[in-house]
């Protein structure tokens, strides 16, 4: 700050606090809804202050019947499915992008640029624009209702490949020269020098990709018909539909809360890596 203006400072904090309230309000209301019983959640006006039923709702949602009147999978299984999908997508993307960036930066081989452009094209083909034919491919390969079908079609990544390419380009040439003098082969160099050097980049990318994987919606919606493969994010939509018949908002919002907590926890606890990952991948 360049000058002392008590009034402006007051206004600053006032506006920021208002902004925080506006941003946090939907999440607060979700939390409040998850702490009341069903009876209270059907009376107008709805509460704005937490009640005492959080543990009842949590245990009913996680291990009990969940939403009555629907025949879905138990919520703990959905959480597990989401976790498996998010981890497979994020780790898979990181692994194959590291390998292809390594090949493109450190090897001269025929069709190198062809490979590069083919990876680049994936940037221009989000799932949303090729849903039907991709669905057919996955169905023909027999990957419907499987973890493989949920994750593999999403793990090609141009952004991750570009990011690792940038990182590798900043590694000094002397590293490779000295490694070769010491008799290290390509894979040895990759494991012992490149991987440790890009550790923070990998972590930052993991934060972003974990959120990306956890929040997938359209793709799981298309390829899972078996309720035991439902992910938690998908289940919210089914519950909203059920809510039109029997409004059990306390259970629905508890489920929503459970679906939000893992990615929010990742963002808040690894905030520095998150910001780094966000700014690196989008340039």
């Amino acid at each position: 700050m360049v000058e002392r203006r008590p009034l402006t400072s007051l206004l600053t904090h006032f506006v920021l606090v208002l902004g925080v309230i506006a941003i946090a309000l939907p999440i607060w209301i979700t939390f409040v809804a998850a702490t009341h019983d069903q009876y209270r959640m059907n009376q107008v006006p709805l509460p704005l202050w937490p009640g005492t039923h959080l543990w009842d709702n949590l245990s009913q949602t996680l291990f009990g019947a969940g939403l009555s009147g629907t025949e879905g999978a138990p919520v703990w299984l959905m959480l597990f499915n989401s976790l498996a999908m998010a981890l497979m997508i994020s780790l898979g993307k990181i692994a194959i992008s590291l390998l292809s960036a390594f090949a493109i930066v450190y090897f001269r081989f025929p069709f190198r640029m062809t490979c590069f452009w083919m990876i680049f094209i994936t940037l221009m083909l989000p799932v949303e624009v090729r849903i039907l034919p991709t669905f057919e491919v996955v169905a023909n390969l027999g990957m419907l209702n499987s973890y493989w079908g949920l994750s593999i079609p999403l793990i090609a990544s141009a952004t991750a490949t570009f990011m690792f390419r940038q990182v590798f380009l900043t590694v000094p040439d002397e590293m490779l020269e000295s490694a070769r003098i010491d008799g290290a082969g390509p894979m040895r160099f990759f494991w012992d020098i490149l991987l440790p050097l890009s550790r923070t980049n990998i972590a930052a990318l993991f934060v972003i990709l974990f959120i990306f994987g956890w929040n997938q919606y359209l793709w799981p919606l298309l390829i899972t018909t078996d309720t035991s493969m439902t992910t938690i994010v998908m289940s919210i939509k089914q519950m909203l539909e059920a809510a039109e018949q029997s409004p059990q908002w306390n259970i629905i919002m508890t489920t929503a809360l459970l679906a939000m907590i893992p990615p929010i926890f990742v963002v808040i606890s690894m905030q520095k890596l998150f910001v780094q990952g966000l700014t690196e991948t989008d340039k």
Binding site: V2, T8, T12, V15, L16, G19, V20, I23, L25, P26, I27, T30, V44, L46, I96, S100, A103, I104, Y106, F107, R108, F109, R112, C115, I121, L123, M124, L125, P126, E128, V129, R130, I131, L132, P133, T134, V137, I152, I155, A156, D173, L176, W214, Y217, L218, L222, V233, I236, K237, L240, A256, M260, P263, I264, V267, I268, Q271, F274, V275, T279
Partner: protein, 293 residues
């Protein structure tokens, strides 16, 4: 982009790029070319055979009033989302960069909607605006507004715009804050010595200096509103009431998976592909080239 010092050619690099290329070919390039091929076909009413018709699907699309409406609706929707979330983020970042102590605390409190899935964001907003139970319709009733987004198309549009913008504020805030913090302090101080107050400095110094960020965010937000808001629409309105919130991505899904119009859906996919490619080109051409101060 190749290292000056590199490994000699061997089968190894092919093995290294093989997994990425295999997935790209099987799940990206092949389906995209299938979509392109199908967009030239019309299936007969029983799905028994199909006829190659060149651009007829596109001509039908171009004359279809529903499709043209969806196009305009998508444009308006994405502009509203971009304007609302960027405006909100700009104001917050403008104030947050003034705070010396506690700026990081505000950042922590403002970034979490980024982590919320679009469909969840939709669920939260649909709950808050539930016509019979929701908090906001209850208060809106006092000022004489009868809220029912199941019946009123404009209210439904307002609701999806708010939900989509809310989720994106965090992202815009982070980029605006970073851009403002990278402005040299001496520039701000010089303006202050010349007698410019905080408001004047914001509009005459900070805003022009962060214009590259504004442009970058505009592109990113348009792409977000075009393609990533499917979950919000699906959870909140399912394109309704009528077709008042049917945006292009939702229409592709709806015509293809619900209406089973393969040729028409494929033609729409191709149009969307062209749009993504155009946006990506804009993003790379203008965003990479940093505007000089």
């Amino acid at each position: 982009m190749l290292k000056r010092v590199h490994f000699p050619s061997s089968p190894l690099p092919y093995l290294l790029v093989a997994p990425q290329l295999a997935i790209t070919l099987v799940f990206f390039i092949w389906p995209a070319s299938q979509a392109m091929y199908q967009s030239f076909l019309i299936e007969d009413a029983f799905g028994l055979g199909s006829e190659f018709v060149w651009f007829e699907n596109f001509e039908v699309l171009w004359e279809d009033q529903h499709y043209l409406d969806a196009f305009w609706r998508t444009a308006i929707f994405s502009l509203l989302v971009a304007a609302l979330s960027m405006g909100f983020a700009l104001v917050l970042a403008g104030f947050a960069q003034r705070v010396v102590r506690g700026a990081m605390a505000y950042r922590t409190l403002l970034i979490w909607p980024y982590a919320v899935a679009p469909v969840l964001a939709g669920a939260l907003w649909v709950f808050m605006f539930n016509p019979t139970l929701g908090i906001f319709p209850y208060f809106l009733d006092f000022v004489g507004i009868d809220w029912n987004h199941y019946l009123n198309g404009n209210q439904a549009m307002a609701l999806v715009v708010m939900a989509a913008a809310w989720k994106q504020v965090a992202y815009n805030f982070l980029f605006y804050l970073a851009a403002m913090q990278s402005i040299p302090n001496s520039v701000i101080e010089a303006a202050a010595i010349d007698g410019a107050g905080p408001g004047r400095r914001f509009f005459n110094i900070i805003l022009p200096l962060i214009s590259p960020t504004t442009f970058f965010l505009l592109v990113i937000n348009m792409v977000y509103a075009f393609f990533e808001t499917f979950g919000i629409i699906h959870a909140v309105t399912q394109g309704g009431p009528g077709t008042s919130t049917t945006i292009l991505v939702y229409k592709v899904f709806n015509d293809g998976f619900v209406g089973l119009d393969l040729g028409g859906s494929a033609a729409q996919s191709v149009v969307l592909m062209v749009l993504v490619i155009a946006m990506t080109v804009v993003q790379f051409r203008y965003v990479e080239r940093k505007v000089e101060y």
